[in-house]
């Protein structure tokens, strides 16, 4: 055995805590080690060249690289080894940085630990066998989940590149939150004017299959070859036949709208047959079985059906439809939920009628909203003064610790719009104004110059004025003046933050991806793989990954689309060979492993043996550990490799002179 050991300094990341020189001295003395070297940055070109050259010059047959996490550079070093003509799986990495130097401060102890880790790797790697990567073809279709601006933009980008896209949206229309806004910061362009052309383009695109009012039920398979089951909920209207004339809504036996309209956050009412908003895509109505008389009693005159006459689009018997599709890549764009203002009792949301959330005000300022764009109180009066309370449900350990990133800016936007429409005095109660984007600071200046008042202090309390004039007092410390201020206002607007979707955890499990501590979907790397997930072939776009504004959302959806394109355009994917396989002679056919595999990769074949589909196997090792007869083995995790590694690790913890011996079945 001729093993080469390479220790990386990683600048001072590793060398600052570990005595690298002593480490290579030690490594060089280990049996089977032909040479040990250190280098400032092993991952650099000269670093890799060093390994390649040594393999040729010294006829190395195994390589151990002690550096950072294999997550980052395993590929790099395996490739370098391969280029020198060695099987790439003869290379093994030791994570000196994350597992040692970054988590310890005591240099001698850290160095000793590094020696243990390197010794373990040297002993393990000699058992490595040559392995082959397997190539499988990729489906050229892409699934996009969520039809907000993120999903719309990603779908269009892919479709324009000639790929077929399935866009699955839960609501009866696409558009997401952006469809609810009137204007968008910082340019104040009209949200509908920039969004609706994209929505119609989605509908018209021949490469896009749009399924609204639908949900993903099941996801199987692996990168390049996902099989996805989608449930299309019944809207009781046949999409193909409905022309969007809306006559049925007119004709409904309910002369007055009765049900709170969720699109307008309950600020207006709708009928049991409805379309969410005038520019909805698709232009197809839906019937709400909860409130429709026909569903409740079966005794409705069904005037809607009468007026739909020869088109005959209404179908009370419509059933849910299940569709299964094969896609190569998936983009998740499920967006965010707005924080529930009632969770902070002292702001009085739900208690005082004139406390609103920002999204409600978005609807009020919207020309197609419940008041036709008038900013009025619930009793119809125009507010003469308005307080906007920042950071509601953000930057607070009681609710969400993180900053929601867009609330400062949309508060500025709403301050401007309210002032413009009502002439009211507007007070912003803020902790910090966060306006770091392009043209944001300029917008802040503009709003301040328009006479909007900024009180630096988090609102501490909202309560009715003592003189009974119906106003609300917003109380806060003006931290710049060092005074407590009590400002009477007619309307309070809560700048509620952005939260992960209530069902984010279910969706995460469905797609087998992770969530970060704040509950948003976790990206593979915060800087270098911001739209990838730990599941290959599944990408993130928009607010499902974290709060962000529309420009950032669109930038991200473009990136996700490009990643998906790169994947499917390659035509094939390489699968890692760290899969499990059954030693058929030893398998007793007990079926223990079958239900355990999270990826359903194990089947029971005629010869009464278990068999693992290597393409489906993700190498989690569950079956290997569970097999009672020890007849499942896993590449790169063979028993000899693991036991040697453990022995090597514990060799220095020798008890009574001899090394600790770990017995066969651990």
């Amino acid at each position: 055995m001729r093993t080469g050991v390479y220790v990386c300094h990683c600048g001072t990341n590793i060398a600052g805590t570990i005595d690298v020189h002593a480490l290579i001295g030690y490594a060089g003395s280990l049996p089977g080690v032909a040479l040990a070297r250190e280098y400032k940055y092993m991952c650099s070109d000269p670093g890799q060249e060093l390994i390649r050259q040594d393999i040729c010059d010294y006829k190395l047959d195994r390589v151990v690289v002690a550096a950072c996490s294999p997550h980052l550079h395993e590929k790099t070093f395996r490739q370098a080894v391969e280029q020198a003509g060695l099987n790439p799986f003869y290379c093994h990495m030791v994570n000196l940085r994350e597992h040692d130097s970054w988590v310890h401060a005591d240099k001698p102890a850290a160095t000793e630990k590094a020696m243990d880790l390197v010794r373990a790797a040297v002993r393990r790697v000699k058992w490595h066998v040559p392995l082959e990567r397997r190539q499988v073809p990729v489906h050229a279709e892409v699934l996009v989940v969520g039809g907000g601006i993120a999903g719309i933009d990603a779908a269009l980008t892919l479709a324009n590149a000639g790929k077929h896209v399935y866009l699955v949206e839960r609501e009866p229309t696409i558009g997401g939150h952006m469809a609810q806004f009137d204007k968008t910061f910082p340019t104040l362009d009209c949200a509908a004017c920039i969004l609706t052309p994209k929505m119609t383009a989605v509908k018209a695109h021949r490469n896009i299959t749009l399924w609204t009012y639908s949900e993903v039920r099941q996801v199987e398979g692996y990168v390049g070859n996902y099989s996805v089951t989608v449930r299309r909920k019944p809207r009781y209207v046949i999409e193909k036949l409905c022309v969007g004339c809306l006559e049925c809504i007119q004709a409904c036996v309910y002369k007055q709208a009765k049900v709170p309209d969720p699109f307008n956050l309950g600020l207006s009412k709708r009928k049991p047959v409805y379309i969410p908003f005038p520019q909805a895509v698709p232009q197809v109505v839906a019937i709400d079985p909860e409130t429709c008389i026909e569903f409740k009693s079966g005794k409705c005159k069904k005037t809607c059906v009468e007026v739909c006459a020869e088109r005959n689009a209404i179908d009370f018997k419509q059933q849910a439809e299940i569709q299964t599709i094969q896609v190569g890549a998936i983009i998740l764009a499920t967006g965010f939920d707005v924080f529930d203002g009632a969770r902070i009792p002292y702001y009085g949301y739900g208690l005082y009628p004139n406390v609103y959330t920002a999204l409600e005000i978005e609807r009020l300022v919207n020309a197609s909203g419940p008041t036709g764009g008038e900013v009025v109180l619930r009793d119809g009066r125009k507010p003469a003064s308005v307080g906007i309370v920042h950071c509601v449900g953000s930057r607070d350990l009681h609710t969400n610790r993180y900053c929601s990133r867009v609330c400062c800016m949309y508060s500025l936007k709403l301050a401007h719009l309210i002032k413009e429409k009502t002439g009211a005095d507007v007070y912003n109660f803020y902790i910090d104004i966060r306006a770091p984007g392009k043209a944001f600071e300029e917008f802040y200046n503009r709003v301040a110059e328009e006479g909007v008042v900024f009180v630096r202090g988090k609102a501490a309390d909202v309560y009715p004025a003592g003189n009974g004039d119906g106003r609300l007092i917003v109380q806060a410390e003006d931290t710049l003046l060092g005074m407590i201020r009590k400002i009477p206002v007619d309307m309070v607007v809560l700048a509620t933050g952005l939260e992960p979707r209530a069902d984010a955890n279910d969706v995460r499990r469905l797609f087998n991806i992770g969530c970060s501590g704040d509950g948003f979907f976790l990206e593979r790397h915060p800087k270098l793989a911001p739209v990838n997930t730990f599941a290959d072939g599944i990408f993130l776009a928009g607010c499902c990954q974290g709060p962000k504004d529309i420009p950032d959302t669109v930038a991200q959806s473009g990136a996700a689309a490009a990643q998906a394109l790169a994947l499917i355009d390659a035509g094939v994917v390489e699968l890692e060979p760290n899969t499990a396989h059954v030693l058929e002679d030893a398998c007793s056919g007990c079926k223990t492993c079958l239900p355990l595999c999270p990826y359903s990769a194990i089947s029971f074949v005629e010869e009464k043996k278990a068999r693992i589909n290597e393409v489906l196997c993700k190498g989690c090792g569950t079956c290997v550990a569970a097999c009672p007869s020890g007849s499942i083995r896993q590449n790169l995790f063979e028993d000899e490799e693991i036991f040697e590694e453990i022995d090597g690790l514990l060799a220095s913890a020798a008890v009574g002179g001899g090394p600790v011996r770990i017995q066969g079945d651990l």
């Binding site: 009792p345 002292y346 309560y463 009715p464 003592g466 009974g468």
Partner: protein
């Protein structure tokens, strides 16, 4: 449940200005078939003042009471005073949170041959009446209709903050629910957890007065004809200075400040003296009207 016995820690106020609280509490519990057994040789909880001088000693004062309770075999200790409630629970919290506090408390208790602290549950009557007895049972035991007016329920600060679990932190409602159960209408009172100033009425008098003035004024504005309290200090502050507040502000505020136990006890058939209703200073006229000396005579008119 009916014959439950609770360990009882009165606190110093019950032996002075808050005597009516103790009277009404004992009466109410008796009417409900519950017994309060006073902790033998209890000492002061230390209140806010002791905490200003020496934190360790303040903890030791409370710890002694808890240790005595344990020695007596009480699993639960009821204390009607919000300050006592907070102090007792705070030492428990600190002992759990900080090993250094736990150690000091353990050592000092040992010096006095007292057992180390274990889990004695510190409870407030509000919580007992709401969760152990339940409003429904109190309603079923009520023997008198309410002839009085609307009441503002004032919870004060220390009962609900941060170590307690007597009610919800920001918007407590249990006193309202209990009073409503016996037919007492309560008003929405936004200031229900705003501080009464505690000992400030005795130290920085004008500041203390102003805090109480705001509370009284807001309650009156909401249509309350009386305020119900859960804490002897709140009751004292709101009750004792109304004449002075009238003089200073020229406003005709004269609200009876009742203990919630007085109102509940009345509904369950207690009489004026056993509930300590004769000890109120302000709002005498209203009290005499709502709680007549001979209720039977009035009752027969309805």
């Amino acid at each position: 449940m009916t014959s439950a016995t609770y360990g009882y820690y009165p606190g110093c106020s019950m032996r002075g200005s808050g005597i009516a609280y103790e009277e009404s509490l004992v009466t109410l519990f008796r009417l409900l078939g519950l017994t309060l057994q006073e902790l033998r040789d209890w000492n002061c909880c230390g209140a806010t003042s002791y905490m200003c001088i020496d934190e360790n000693l303040a903890f030791l004062l409370s710890a002694r009471n808890l240790a005595l309770a344990q020695q007596t075999g009480f699993r639960e200790l009821v204390t009607p005073c919000s300050a006592c409630y907070l102090c007792l629970r705070k030492v428990q919290d600190y002992v759990q949170r900080y090993p250094q506090v736990a150690e000091r408390v353990r050592d000092s208790l040992a010096v006095a041959s007292l057992p180390p602290l274990d889990a004695v549950k510190v409870r407030h009557p509000l919580e007992i009446l709401f969760t152990d007895v339940e409003p429904e049972r109190i309603r079923s035991k009520a023997v008198r209709h309410w002839h009085g007016g609307q009441v503002a329920c004032y919870y004060g600060c220390q009962l609900v903050r941060p170590y307690g679990e007597a009610d919800r932190l920001h918007n407590p409602t249990r006193m309202d629910e209990l009073l409503q159960a016996v037919g007492v209408p309560t008003v929405k009172f936004a200031l229900k957890t705003k501080c009464c100033g505690g000992s400030l009425t005795g130290t920085i008098h004008p500041v203390g007065l102003r805090l109480n003035y705001i509370l009284l004024k807001e309650a009156a504005r909401k249509g309350a004809k009386a305020i119900a309290t859960v804490c002897p200090l709140c009751q004292y502050n709101l009750d004792a200075y109304q004449a002075e507040i009238r003089r200073e502000t020229g406003e005709a505020l004269d609200l009876p400040i009742l203990f919630f136990t007085q109102i509940l006890g009345w509904a369950l058939g207690g009489d004026v003296r056993s509930l300590g209703l004769h000890r109120a200073i302000s709002g005498r006229r209203v009290i005499d009207e709502w709680f007549p000396q001979h209720p039977e005579e009035v009752e027969s008119y309805v």
